[in-house]
């Protein structure tokens, strides 16, 4: 029988929730890495027991953790003593993220725009998002703050920047949002191993078609009133992007304001906010089996980061946008003032599709019927940063 494993990153540790295919009763383990900020955990599609986790702290910096047994035990790869057969070679350093400044593969370290408009050098802060390869459990991508993408091909022991992204030339126009200048979204195209989509707050979305060597901004059609040129090539605060693997040329985006859709792999975008009451938000995700069924959680505004009217409502569109319905059954409809952060929604691939999201109030809600009804599967956790789901056979 199928099982579901939900990986939850919170402000004070990680939690792993498991259930059978009915998704009615849940076992909770954790906190793993208690007291640390767990920005993101994600399992390898090619080896579901391989899970990568980003563990970070304002005091002690960045740690990468890896589990090879589905989250029962963890190890910081490369953090142990040299093995006897290593010939005394020092171990690799799994938490070392150094921007590429080499003349051969990168370009001299560039600057980005600081809050006051001056130029500021790139400084590594933390890993926001880990995206394991679709085919190789030892290969994983990391989206980091200050914005850049790194790749490990040795199971997280060492990391190398795909420097062509920052080398694109628009870097001096990128700027941090209130949460920092983070690369928070990485999407691997299952139909084209050379194509990767990423998104940065606040620079916008980018795409490579040659495995990360060269990148181009894909922001045509985005309109942002809060930047000097609302239609600029870069500078847009993209909050999250989602793709259904069955239709990889169609992307959905939750921007700072506006819900957007692209039917040409990001070459152009059109707004599909339609009848939604507020189109500000962070998360966006897509039904596993119905590529035109989209989920968002509207947030009141950019200055009031909580759900409107004290009501926690997921909005679903079954028409690929524009026409939205509020999903409320089982969700609090009074005195609720939580947020749902950009990586805190995910779907399983069971039939019916399960939808999951976590709140800054520490609840993780699940729907086993594609959003028609909801129930908290755990509550009173620390603020939830991220939710990922694995469907296990």
């Amino acid at each position: 029988m199928s099982k579901v494993r939900v990986l939850v990153g919170t402000r004070k540790g990680a939690f792993i929730l498991t259930s059978d295919g009915k998704r009615e009763k849940w076992d909770v383990t954790g906190p793993h890495f208690a007291g640390w900020e767990m920005y993101h955990l994600k399992g390898s599609p090619s080896d579901p027991n391989r899970i990568y986790a980003s563990q970070t702290s304002g005091w002690f910096g960045q740690i990468i953790q890896v589990s090879k047994d589905g989250g029962k035990t963890w190890d910081a790869p490369g953090g142990g003593m040299p093995a006897p057969g290593d010939g005394g070679m020092p171990p690799k350093i799994s938490n070392k993220f150094v921007y590429d400044t080499s003349g051969e593969t990168g370009k001299p370290l560039t600057t980005h725009q600081w809050y006051d408009g001056t130029q500021h050098p790139w400084e590594f802060k933390r890993v926001w998002h880990l995206e394991p390869s679709l085919t190789d459990p030892d290969t994983v991508y990391a989206g980091v703050e200050d914005a850049a993408i790194f790749r490990s091909s040795d199971g997280g022991k060492s990391w190398h920047e795909l420097a062509g992204l920052r080398g694109h030339g628009t870097g001096p126009k990128w700027q941090p949002g209130a949460g920092g200048m983070c690369l928070h979204t990485i999407i691997l195209d299952p139909s084209n191993p050379k194509r990767i989509f990423i998104a940065i707050s606040a620079a916008g979305a980018f795409r490579t078609d040659n495995g990360g060597k060269n990148w181009k901004p894909i922001n045509r059609g985005l309109h942002s009133q809060y930047i000097p040129d609302p239609n600029a090539e870069v500078g847009h605060c993209v909050h999250h992007v989602a793709m259904n693997p069955k239709r990889p040329n169609v992307l959905f985006m939750q921007k700072h304001w506006d819900i957007m859709r692209s039917d040409d792999a990001g070459d152009s975008w059109k707004e599909v906010s339609g009848n939604i009451p507020t189109d500000f938000g962070f998360v966006i995700d897509i039904h596993a089996h119905e590529p035109d069924t989209i989920y968002v959680v509207p947030i009141k505004s950019d200055s009031e980061h909580f759900v409107p009217e004290g009501k926690l409502r997921v909005y679903r569109s079954r028409s690929g946008g524009n026409e939205w319905e509020a999903l409320t059954k089982g969700l609090p409809q009074k005195d609720c003032y939580v947020n749902v952060l950009r990586d805190a929604m995910a779907v399983d691939s069971l039939d019916k599709c399960g939808v999951y999201f976590g709140t800054t109030g520490g609840q993780v809600y699940a729907s086993a019927d594609a959003g028609d009804t909801w129930a908290p599967i755990v509550r009173d956790l620390p603020a939830v940063y991220s939710v990922e789901v694995q469907t296990l056979s």
């Binding site: 007291g35 640390w36 702290s57 304002g58 005091w59 002690f60 910096g61 960045q62 740690i63 910081a76 490369g78 953090g79 142990g80 003593m81 020092p90 171990p91 350093i93 938490n95 070392k96 150094v98």
Partner: protein, 99 residues
């Protein structure tokens, strides 16, 4: 010489050690030589106390010993004799902050 180092709780958990670790360090015993030895024995701590590249102390950590704040001393300054002799530990302290 056997040097004693006390770690903050999160680094003890990360390195899978107790409150205090003991390290063999050649004279002269300095902050740099103690941290080099600590990271050599516990590579998972590399980058958690000082930056990988610049080797600068992370901003929210402090080095105390013998009731003295050594955080702003040169890392090549010899540590107090009581630390070098193992009588007193070098304390690595996380800044106090709420939340």
């Amino acid at each position: 010489m056997t040097i004693r180092v006390e770690l903050p709780q999160h680094l003890r958990t990360l390195a899978k050690v107790g409150r205090e670790v003991q390290l063999e360090v050649q004279a002269p015993v300095t902050l740099r030589s103690v941290l080099d030895a600590l990271e050599a024995h516990h590579p998972v701590l590399r980058g958690t106390i000082r930056d990988h590249v610049t080797l600068q102390r992370r901003a929210f950590l402090r080095f105390f010993a013998c009731e003295e704040d050594l955080s702003h001393h040169s890392t090549d300054t010899p540590l107090p004799d009581a630390v070098a002799s193992g009588k007193e530990p070098l304390l690595i302290i996380g800044a106090i902050a709420g939340g």
